[in-house]
Subunit: 255 residues, 2 copies
Amino acid sequence: MITIVKVGGNVINDDLLLKKFLRDFSQIQTPKILIHGGGKLASDLSLKMGVTPKMIDGRRITDEETLDIIVMTYAGLINKRIVTILQSLDCNAIGLTGADANIIPATKRPVNNINYGFVGDVNVDEINGSQILNFLSSGLIPVFSPLTHNYKTLLNTNADTIAASIAIALSSKNDVQLIYCFEKNGVLNDINDPDSVISDLNYPELEKMIKNGIIHTGMLPKLENGYNALKAGAINVKIKNSNQLLEHGGTELKL
Amino acid sequence: MITIVKVGGNVINDDLLLKKFLRDFSQIQTPKILIHGGGKLASDLSLKMGVTPKMIDGRRITDEETLDIIVMTYAGLINKRIVTILQSLDCNAIGLTGADANIIPATKRPVNNINYGFVGDVNVDEINGSQILNFLSSGLIPVFSPLTHNYKTLLNTNADTIAASIAIALSSKNDVQLIYCFEKNGVLNDINDPDSVISDLNYPELEKMIKNGIIHTGMLPKLENGYNALKAGAINVKIKNSNQLLEHGGTELKL
């Protein structure tokens, strides 16, 4: 079994939460992989440097200046902070972008109505799974920042998608479990009730909930990615609170 | 034979020079390792963010704020830029700090008269040479930024020293050549004459030149590190111009 964990931005911005999460992560007994999101550090840094974040329809546009800031924050500050904490926990982490060891090739998103700039869509079939397995079998714990590359430039890429893509790439030859960690207790029936966690969520049910407007739009990418991994052979996909990584609970996706 | 190349800051600040250098580096036929310096990007970023670089007696003090900026610049922007360019040249680079895969443990410099802050002195005996050799034998090209760690924090570390330390760690079981690349043609007899390159420089001769004030003080750390590597078994140590990596010339150190 290989465990792939994705941890989101809110945890990264909170030093205590992050350390508690990483302590739990270091206890996972299977070979493991961590993918971290970006969080608001990149926006903070942008503002400090006088670069106003560019948004169209609520989505960030990654121009050249923004890409530099994202690379500094994601691949530099956040990734190496996580690696250093894991090393202090005797967990032999290696921080990576998708360009390192050419593990995650991607395609720059084509310009249609909106030019998203330096944003990459993962070429799932080209993920270098055997390199990841090499690392795992030498006892290394890969820690990915949400960046890919297209042999010309780094590309800003959704961390949920990277986690699912790696799960898909490894599932053909391995048992893979994928855990999305964030600040809520799972997929909720009522967004105002933190205890209304749906423990098992199958796809037809999800479609009904989406139709009825019960699923928060922010959850949709995570769910979509999770189901993609499940369909491609991941044996277990969960969405749970980052401070309950080792405990029961959360939402398990079912086909 | 393993080739270890260190490239300095001035090359990194110049996009054209950097690309030419990396093109040459990618042509080296032996297994190879690159160590890059920091250059002035970190100071530029400091100023942009309103953080004044702290210096005592001309040496940078790495306080916590400065460490963050250095990590962003060295491990983020510069390291990943180099990795991405190398990947575009079909050179399977993997960007690392000394914390990644626990390759370069170091000791935080003790506070005596000056508190240098988060500055690390490499624990040469603890360098994880077998991990580096693993990478090389899987066809990866390690690219190190000048950061080490002490299991608590990242530490700012001289890139010349890292290059020599890796050379020393690998020399016990391998033939290693070490090349220091910078903006001059080698060690010069006359700093105002770029063609006055000393082609072979042995240690007694160097001591004489130092006594006579011929060696520029900026060269001393490079020379000291180079001789350390040579004494520890590196079979060849050169100091040469970064734009002549594949050509003859430069200064070869001799015992």
